[in-house]
């Protein structure tokens, strides 16, 4: 019975922290967006369909060569969830405005992979949405599970989005990938980086056990005295 009380108390206090998080959300004037309810692995709610509304509320980085004095810059965003890495590029409204899918360098925890995004064989980019095929640059093999769309509209710069399964970068341990960086020499020198900052939590949990055990042993010795 004593154990059950301890479990209940422990759960209660953990729940306290859980409840604490809600005032933080309530304090914001923005709408609170929740994770896609269908999947806890889909953190970012991005769908690769040629519709870019799901990128509108996400931060983008200006990609621009320093020698470009015309202030032409492309916009790029790199996101990841537990299964995929997502990339969105919108070309500069002026200057170089057309799609470029070559020399995409993805670096995952130091390992480099080159990828290209091209229209399916026998097709070319036309107005509206055109699906993209994502291939390894080395060997031209299609990457299973990867997809993309490029959108061309009259008088507007090209825009495209793609997703690549993390298993492409590390088939057996893709859940361990921490840092993903994207760079494309055809677009600009900037690198887009998506990373986590793990605390190595089990080390701290282990240290806690050591301190608690030491405290317990000291308490026992004090009682004996």
């Amino acid at each position: 019975m004593n154990v059950i009380k301890k479990i209940a108390a422990c759960m209660f206090t953990i729940s306290f922290v859980f409840i604490l998080s809600f005032p933080v959300f309530a304090a914001s004037t923005e709408d609170v967006l929740y994770l896609s309810e269908d999947s806890a692995t889909d953190y970012v709610g991005i769908t690769i369909d040629g519709n870019y509304d799901d990128w509108a509320d996400k931060p983008h980085t200006q990609i621009q060569y320093s020698w470009d004095t015309g202030n032409n810059y492309h916009l790029g965003a790199l996101f990841r969830d537990a299964e995929y890495v997502y990339l969105h590029i919108k070309m500069s409204p002026t200057g170089y405005t057309q799609f470029n899918g070559y020399n995409y360098r993805f670096t995952t925890d130091g390992e480099v992979n080159y990828v290209l995004a091209v229209p399916p064989d026998g097709t070319s980019i036309s107005e509206g949405n055109t699906p993209l095929v994502i291939r390894r640059q080395n060997g031209y093999k299609i990457i299973d599970g990867a997809s993309g769309f490029v959108t061309r509209r009259a008088g507007q710069p090209d825009e495209w989005e793609l997703s690549i399964p993390l298993s492409f970068f590390d088939k057996n341990h893709y859940d361990r990938i921490r840092t993903i960086a994207f760079y494309c020499s055809n677009l600009g020198p900037q690198e887009l980086i998506a990373t986590g900052t793990p605390t190595l939590p089990f080390v701290i949990a282990g240290a806690g056990l050591v301190f608690a055990t030491a405290g317990y042993k000291l308490a026992k010795r004090n009682r004996k005295k």
């Binding site: 154990v3 301890k6 479990i7 108390a9 422990c10 759960m11 206090t13 953990i14 306290f16 922290v17 859980f18 604490l20 998080s21 809600f22 933080v24 959300f25 914001s28 967006l33 929740y34 994770l35 806890a40 953190y43 509320d57 996400k58 931060p59 980085t61 621009q64 790199l78 996101f79 990841r80 020198p189 900037q190 690198e191 887009l192 980086i193 998506a194 990373t195 986590g196 900052t197 793990p198 605390t199 190595l200 939590p201 080390v203 701290i204 949990a205 240290a207 806690g208 056990l209 301190f211 608690a212 055990t213 030491a214 405290g215 317990y216 000291l218 308490a219 010795r221 004090n222 005295k225």
Partner: protein
């Protein structure tokens, strides 16, 4: 799966009761706290991680917004730092959220054979807030370093500097809660000044 977990919990409670009756208090503490931690990892970790990581991102983002150095997209558990032309997106996933540390601390405390229930409740809530705050401080320091020194410093900021801060504060908490009270209670031998003061010589 639920049935398996339920059976494991029942077996765990039974073993704890056996250890309790056999007066094996240390093993009860050890099995109790480790078991409690594992059970929480299996049962409630999945429910807590997402709101906790958003709360961490939102709280860190408040400091970022005030200083203008970084911004939080807490709905995605994301902190975005821009340094010149470079940018970096920090994801607060379950290993960054502090959820494991929170559960480990709670599990150890509730099976620690000192403190009464009220004390444990107060210490637990304080400890959880301490760990939560330490994690935010860690992230703020990482973001500030990246903001000032660029992406090249990220590894140092995250793997060394940020962790030293977080580990230091966590170990301080464990020491003050579990070890220090016992060291203070330790007797260091009987002694008295009264008999050998100058007027008694």
């Amino acid at each position: 799966m639920t049935i398996v977990i339920a059976v494991i919990i029942i077996v765990w409670i039974y073993i704890l009761s056996v250890l309790s009756r056999a007066n094996l208090a240390f093993f009860k503490f050890l099995l109790g706290s480790v078991g409690m931690f594992v059970i929480m990892m299996v049962t409630i970790q999945g429910y807590i991680t997402v709101p906790l990581s958003r709360a961490v991102a939102a709280s860190t983002g408040i400091i970022g917004s005030l200083t203008g150095m970084f911004y939080s997209y807490y709905q995605y558990s994301l902190i975005f730092i821009q340094h010149g032309a470079d940018s970096i997106s920090l994801y607060i996933d379950y290993e960054c959220s502090g959820v494991i540390e929170l559960m480990a601390f709670s599990a150890l405390l509730w099976f620690f054979p000192l403190y009464n229930v009220i004390e444990k409740l107060a210490i637990n809530i304080t400890g959880l807030l301490w760990i939560f705050g330490s994690n935010i401080l860690r992230l703020v320091v990482i973001c500030i370093l990246v903001y000032f020194f660029g992406n090249d410093i990220f590894f140092f900021a995250h793997a060394i500097f940020g962790r030293i801060i977080f580990y230091g504060l966590s170990i301080m908490l464990y020491f003050y809660v579990f070890t220090r009270p016992q060291i203070i209670k330790q007797k260091v031998g009987k002694f008295s000044y009264g008999l050998h003061t100058p007027e008694n010589i």
